[in-house]
């Protein structure tokens, strides 16, 4: 059971307006301790603005938020939060290690914390090189290293796999899961559905500045369905309707589609065989997060992969 005490990021009606443009519109969400929460939405949906408000970089026009029980952007909250928002930002003339040393100086962290963060993102070998010589992926990894300085309780990461090659993306996802296993809470935004599906315990879908839905991936998917390839199809339809009701039965691509739990497959197959209807194939079908996303957001497919 989740208690209020477990919710370490809470927003209520969080709103940001730039002139006449409503960037974030009344977002209310809760992130629980120890989970990986995915903030999913297309480019321009309001993900980054919401994260900026949680870090105190941008002041909300309306609504409230608390981070680890503190006001967003307060030193008490920020000291327990690591973040990477809208790409890494470092001094180009300093090395990766020296950049981290500068940041560590702000909070009184020592050399060990810097070395540990570099080790965690596997950047130790190139840590002495100037930041301006880094590839996009290395810059992103240094950004994550900066977020990890001092082992924060909460990580707020905006598109953490941006710029990484496939192997780097896999490593990053593994790292995020490992951090969650160690008890760190991760709030990440992404427009990559597969990424969110792979690593997040719960998901919030944002589009047009509004939070459309939130819950576990399974909750968002709802129930699965069964698809049967049968012949003759007209003979199978009344049998299925008698078993599950007309609302649960439809035909898709000359197949019988049943909105029932896959565990009921044996029941329907037995009924079909008894009625001398040939059953060629039975398969369970889960709604993909992609389908759910487009259904919730009403967005086109551009901007979301």
């Amino acid at each position: 059971m989740t208690t209020k005490h477990d919710e370490i990021v809470v927003t209520d009606g969080l709103t940001k307006r730039y002139g006449v443009r409503l960037a974030v519109d009344g977002v209310s969400l809760a992130v629980r301790r120890g989970e990986v929460f995915g903030f999913l939405g297309p480019n321009g949906a309001g993900k980054t603005t919401t994260l900026r408000m949680l870090l105190g970089l941008v002041r909300p026009t309306d609504g409230t938020a608390s981070v680890l029980g503190e006001p967003p952007g307060s030193p008490a909250a920020l000291r327990r939060v690591g973040s990477l928002v809208e790409g890494p930002g470092f001094y180009p003339y300093l090395s990766g290690r020296e950049n981290l040393r500068v940041l560590a100086s702000y909070t009184g962290l020592g050399e060990a914390a810097v070395a540990q963060a570099l080790e965690r993102v596997e950047l130790t070998a190139r840590a002495g090189d100037r930041y301006r010589t880094y590839s996009l992926g290395m810059k992103q990894r240094l950004g994550v290293a900066a977020a990890l300085l001092g082992r924060p309780e909460l990580l707020i990461l905006d598109e953490p796999t941006n710029g990484l090659d496939p192997a780097g993306m896999a490593d990053m996802r593994q790292l995020l899961r490992a951090l969650a296993s160690d008890g760190q809470t991760v709030l990440l935004s992404s427009h990559l559905l597969g990424e969110v599906e792979q690593i997040c315990d719960r998901v919030g879908v944002i589009a047009g500045g509004r939070l459309r839905a939130s819950g576990t991936v399974a909750e968002l998917r709802g129930g699965a369905s069964l698809v049967l390839r049968v012949s003759p199809l007209p003979a199978a339809l009344p049998i299925a309707e008698r078993l599950f009701g007309g609302a649960a039965v439809s035909t898709v691509d000359d197949c019988l589609s049943l909105a029932v739990e896959p565990s009921r497959a044996s029941q329907v197959v037995q009924a079909m065989v008894e009625a001398r209807v040939a059953v060629h194939e039975v398969r369970p079908v889960h709604r993909s997060l992609e389908e759910i996303f487009f259904a919730l957001s009403g967005e086109g497919q551009e901007g979301v992969a």
């Binding site: 900026r52 105190g56 970089l57 930002g89 500068v102």
Partner: protein, 286 residues
Amino acid sequence: MNAVGDLGRATRAELRRLVRWPAMWVLCGVWLLLNLTFAYVFPYLTYRDGTTVGPRAGTGTLESMLPDHAPVAVVQGMPMFGGALVLILGALAIGGPYGWGTWKTVFTTGPRRGVALTGTLLALGAVLVGLTIATLALDLTAASVVAGVENQAIVLPGAGDVLRGTGAALLIAAMWTVGGALLGALARGPALAVGLGLVWTLVVENLLRGVANLLTALATITDCLPGTVAGSLAAAAGALPPSDPNGSPGVNTIHDGATALLGVIVFLVAFGAATVGLVSRRDLAA
């Protein structure tokens, strides 16, 4: 963690990135080179070239190049050229991180924005202290060489003169640096801030002063400009206005020393407060 501790850590962190910043060393190097060139090299060549004829001839020029005059050499170029250079330093130090995205990183690290910004200004102050000391050391060295070559006695300046000259130079430099920092914060980037700052220090103030000679109402305003009070403070520390053969651009005698000192301090504090207030209150949306 208390505010003083946070400020100490922020100052150390900012000093750490400033001392490794090539642009800072370039600007300081250019100032030292200009100071040496205009306070010693050109005057000495002029002195050697025309000791008997010309308006810049005579022992006055040589006296201005001897060691006891070194504190004046430190401050004489600061109201205009030195000021322009340190203004660039301030504009780049505050405006640059907007372009690099490092303010976002710093402001999400822990300290309050006001503390982080004040740390930056204090770190810049430390750089200016170093620069002022380096300028004095360079000027004393150059003056000693001139004295040696010209068979003059090496008489070191008194402590009071050193304090007056370097103190005035430091205050003027700090005022222009923080003015540049304010421009960097206003422009949220280095390029526009540097451009506007240079136009102001090198062109606008001089044009206004020229027009003020014709419009007396404008004179009241120009008398209160940062360049005017900086020039008067330099004059109070011994620098001569351009009307004198040994004078320097930007130096003036419009205000007495106390008024000029107060004016420079007022601008310094106002620029600093405006910078910290502006960055603290404004959204960091990019």
